[in-house]
């Protein structure tokens, strides 16, 4: 019951928040979107003011009364200072570095201000991420990098960004939740198959020779004791992808394919995970590779752009609203 009541209010709150602070690529913080409320220390400070008032009243001492007034007035003025520490900032998202599922995404934020005012203790966080503190001293811009967990393949929305600060006196907390319409690309969780399946014959000229002893690289096999150390794929080992031996043969088709049909009998995510793992293993070999998914063929190519394209295709396979990410 309690959970459902809380859930109800959380829903109401997020709907109200969505109406009040709609998504936008850059948000300027100010009167309209900042909240401010005394912190626990602030309430303790109010208690202190009460105690001072009691002392002043009971001892009928005007000097202590004056100090009480000063403390109360400090509290009021510090509302403005706490507010001003966030007010006037413009927050935008610079870029989201994609990551693999079950790992993290890196969100890079840009905090800008029109004039180089001193700001400190700017805490930025997403739900589930660690709070990162930033300060601006004599600059108009500062970058903040946040890592957010990437739960599953596809497009991930880390939710609203919470920016908060208790600077300068810690008696009041100013905060806001801004929706920067951030969506990050999450690649499939890579799975490394035991044996690297060789490329599929695609053209008449290419013929795979299963036999050993050729000059051309054919694929990788899990290391078995006794394999020649010369053939160990050290690059893969260094990336902690496991100990493999390179397998050479006479291959006529030197183009490698990541093919949907290579893993029959597996479901979609399992296939994508394996394709992703394969890709990571192939790339260091320095040979062209292509991708074949249902309804999509990327011709073999090399280079960083191609790799990212392939990863993106894997990430966004059968994902709706994928425009702008390919």
């Amino acid at each position: 019951m309690a959970v459902s009541v809380r859930g109800f209010f959380q829903q109401r709150f997020s709907r109200w928040l969505a109406r009040r602070l709609p998504p936008s690529s850059a948000v300027s913080l100010g009167r309209r979107n900042l909240f401010i409320f005394p912190s626990a220390t602030g309430f303790a400070f109010l208690l202190l003011i009460g105690l001072c008032w009691l002392a002043a009243t009971n001892y009928e001492n005007n000097l202590v009364f004056g100090i009480t007034c000063l403390l109360a007035s400090l509290f009021v003025v510090s509302i403005l200072h706490s507010f001003a520490n966030l007010s006037g900032l413009t927050v935008s998202c610079l870029k989201v570095t994609p990551g693999f599922a079950d790992k993290t995404l890196t969100v890079e934020l840009l905090l800008r201000q029109p004039r180089s005012r001193f700001r400190d203790g700017l805490g930025c966080s997403f739900a589930g991420s660690e709070k990162v503190m930033a300060a601006m001293s004599g600059v108009t811009e500062c970058r903040v990098k946040l890592t957010v967990p990437a739960p599953q393949r596809g497009l991930h929305d880390p939710g609203r960004l919470r920016i908060e600060s208790i600077y300068p006196v810690g008696l009041l907390r100013a905060w806001t939740y801004v929706d920067l319409a951030i969506r990050g690309l999450v690649y499939p969780r890579p799975l490394f198959p035991d044996s690297y399946p060789p490329g599929r014959r695609t053209t008449g000229e290419g013929l795979l020779q299963g036999g050993e002893g050729g000059d051309d690289f054919v694929g990788l096999n899990r290391y078995r004791p006794g394999d020649s150390l010369k053939h160990v794929a050290w690059k893969h080992y260094a990336r902690e992808q496991g100990l493999y031996t390179k397998h050479y043969g006479d291959v006529l088709d030197r183009q490698l394919w990541l093919d949907w049909d290579q893993f029959p009998g597996l479901d979609r995510e399992a296939r994508l995970s394996r394709l992703c793992g394969l890709l990571l293993q192939i790339v260091p070999l320095g040979q062209p590779y292509g991708l074949r998914l249902l309804g999509l063929v990327l011709e073999p190519a090399m280079g960083d752009a191609h790799r990212q394209r392939v990863l993106a295709e894997l990430a966004l396979f059968e994902i709706p609203n994928r425009e702008g990410f390919l």
Partner: protein, 669 residues
């Protein structure tokens, strides 16, 4: 234990600076060992920060706590009281410093520092004391800001600058609150300070007491008269009536009631039955007194007085008394009639007995003299005059009278004949009583220093004792035997009389009073006095003035009006600070040329041709040219002109651009 939170270097620096300042505020009335513990704790904390020592563990902390509590109990015995409370708070402050593991511990340290600093104002209410407390608050605030400053590049002084700005901006609102916030009387009675006895008039008088007071230039009270200050010889500040004599010491008689009802008549109460015994003649004199703390309830006023404000009562022997001992500077209003007659009709046999009481077997020579003169003079007045003439002829007024033995009055009258006011007053009353005339000693102050600003300061060396005798048909008459020995003392001031005598001001070696013959020092002294006086009147005694001040300011002191004034003016002040604080957030105004170019962009955007982010003016114009061929020429011209004026050699003419943008026809979709 690994601390999850690490205090930063500058935060610790300010925390310890504030700590030192706050504890120094209380150093005077704290037990020595707490100060030693405070220094050790600070050193320990620094060593922790340097990683040299660990923080104390739980058993050690418990041990320290037990030691502190035992120490406080041994030191004070009774834990109820202001000083034990402050000592307890300070020891908590000291120990919390060693327990600062989390940030919330640091917050507690700061809040304790605020409270301990505020309480210091209970002990010292002078201007310098207030300034010191303010300085401490500044340091504590800097420590609080330092706790939140993560930026280490901007220097160690930034927290202090931030604190100064905050404090400065808080001042106007504080003054407003101080002026407008209503004062409520004490909610419950609080333990008073157990201050060491200060110099001042006490409720007993023995030879040597008043000459001791002559050694101090400390202020006793200040008086502001509504009209002119009466002549010096009329300024007898009556404080106590001493009717009991045990052969050496004069003291008060304690009677819970006389035959005619209650002994106290509070301000605002129905006049008691005995109020009729006072015959007040002529115009009343109104004045207000700001009295320094005496730790005693009695107040000083000119005879015969009536209280002029709350919390003051008239006693049965026509003195004024405060509801509570004067533990801090306090202001009270008085109405006095200098022309009066009290208890002129009759003195009841009971009262006669009290006012004629003498101990048996003391001062036989004085008793014999009085009885001899009584036989010669049947008229009381003539007898009084005879005694005064005796003083006038042969006696010397001095601050350093010789010591007296058992029969002090005899020795003084017949042997030494040198004395201060208490010798004259005491022996005079003794002779009167021995002659059968009811008499009593009155203690208080006489005279005072007139300040150019129109008030009177009365100091400890103005302390004085004189006598009252009861004469048929005249009632109680004040008689000052000292005036007959040393009239200059009464007419002028004691400085000119005794200024050269050794011992005068001996207890106030640094007093500027000593240098009053040097012109500029005296002026400086008088200016400082004036400042102190206004401080006492307007700040420390503001609750007395508040009603009339607010009535003058607001016309009415209804709660509604005060609340409105507080909210209105306070809101205005906060708004002003807010504007000043937030205005820098607005971006710099655009260049007029940029503004015109933006107007062009807006106009085209309304037609569906928005400028893309990162698209330069030229590229934008070219694209528009392709999308809207009929506008191509105009848009290109404007963008060229803009580029030329903004970045090229062309003279800046924003009005030309404005005209061109205006002429551009809207895009029809």
């Amino acid at each position: 234990m690994t601390p999850s939170w690490q205090i930063r270097r500058h935060a610790l620096f300010w925390l310890l600076t504030a700590y030192a300042a706050v504890i120094a505020l209380h150093a005077e009335h704290l037990p020595r060992w707490i100060l030693v513990a405070a220094v050790i704790a600070a050193c320990w904390r620094i060593q922790c920060f340097r990683g040299a020592w660990p923080l104390p563990g739980r058993p050690l902390k418990l041990g320290l706590l037990a030691m502190c509590l035992t120490g406080l109990l041994l030191e004070y015995g009774n834990p109820i009281g202001l000083e034990p409370m402050v000592a307890l708070l300070v020891s908590a402050y000291v120990m919390k410093l060693l327990e600062m593991v989390h940030r919330r511990d640091a917050y507690l340290v700061v809040l304790l520092a605020f409270f301990v600093a505020a309480l210091a104002a209970l002990f010292d209410q002078s201007i310098s004391g207030a300034g010191y407390v303010l300085g401490c608050l500044l340091l504590v605030l800097a420590a609080l800001i330092g706790l939140h400053q993560s930026d280490t590049t901007s220097g160690r002084l930034r927290p202090l600058r931030g604190a100064a700005a905050l404090l400065f901006q808080a001042m106007p609102l504080m003054i407003l609150m101080f002026l407008l916030m209503p004062r409520v009387g004490a909610l419950w009675s609080v333990p008073i300070q157990t201050h060491k006895a200060k110099t001042g008039v006490t409720d007993t008088m023995s030879p040597g007491d008043f000459s001791q007071l002559g050694r101090s230039a400390e202020l006793a009270f200040r008086v502001t008269f509504d009209g002119a200050i009466p002549p010096q010889r009329q300024l007898y500040w009556r404080g106590l009536v001493l009717s009991k004599f045990d052969g050496r010491v004069w003291s008060r008689t304690f009677r819970t009631s006389l035959d005619d009802g209650a002994l106290l008549q509070w301000y605002g109460q129905q006049p008691k039955h005995w109020d009729q015994l006072i015959e007040r003649r002529g115009d009343p004199l109104r004045y207000s007194v700001v009295i320094e703390p005496t730790q005693q309830p009695w107040l000083y006023a000119l005879n015969t007085a009536l209280p002029g404000g709350r919390g003051v009562a008239l006693t049965r022997d026509f003195r004024l008394i405060s509801a509570q001992p004067v533990t801090s500077k306090q202001q009270y209003q008085v109405i006095s009639w200098l022309d009066y007659r009290v208890e002129s009709a009759n003195l009841s046999p009971d009262r006669r007995k009290i006012e004629l009481q003498l101990p048996d077997g003391f001062n036989p020579r004085a008793v014999a003299l009085a009885q001899r003169w009584r036989r010669l003079e049947s008229d009381d007045r003539a007898l009084v005059q005879r005694v005064l003439n005796l003083y006038n002829r042969e006696f010397i007024y001095t601050l350093q009278p010789p010591l007296l033995g058992r029969d002090s009055v005899d020795e003084f009258l017949f042997d030494t004949q040198r004395g201060f006011c208490e010798h004259f007053a005491g022996s005079f009353v003794f002779l009167m009583r021995a002659a059968g005339i009811p008499a009593r000693v009155v203690a208080g102050y006489q005279g005072g220093e007139r300040h150019p600003d129109g008030y009177l300061s009365v100091r400890q060396y103005d302390a004085h004792a004189w006598a009252e005798v009861w004469l048929p048909d005249e009632g109680w008459v004040s008689i000052d035997p000292t005036a007959h020995v040393a009239p200059e003392r009464i007419e002028g001031d004691i400085q000119t009389l005794l200024g050269d005598e050794e011992g005068f001001l001996a207890d106030s070696p640094a007093s500027l009073m000593r240098f009053r013959h040097i012109g500029w020092i005296n002026r400086l002294r008088l200016d400082m006095e004036a400042l102190n006086y206004h401080w006492a009147l307007w700040v420390l005694g503001y609750d007395q003035k508040q009603q009339s001040f607010l009535r003058g300011l607001l016309g009415d002191t209804s709660p509604l009006r005060i609340a409105l004034a507080l909210l209105g003016t306070g809101g205005g002040l906060v708004l002003l600070i807010g504007l000043w604080k937030l205005i820098p957030d607005r971006p710099k105004p655009l260049d007029p040329l940029d503004r015109q170019f933006q107007a062009l962009c807006r106009k085209l955007e309304r037609g569906g041709c928005a400028r893309l982010s990162g698209e330069g003016p030229r590229a934008f114009a070219e694209r528009i040219g392709l999308e809207q061929p009929e506008l191509a020429e105009q848009v290109m011209a404007i963008s060229r002109a803009y580029e030329g004026m903004r970045y090229g050699e062309q003279a800046s003419q924003p009005e030309l651009l404005a005209k061109a943008v205006k002429r551009l026809p809207a895009i029809r979709r």
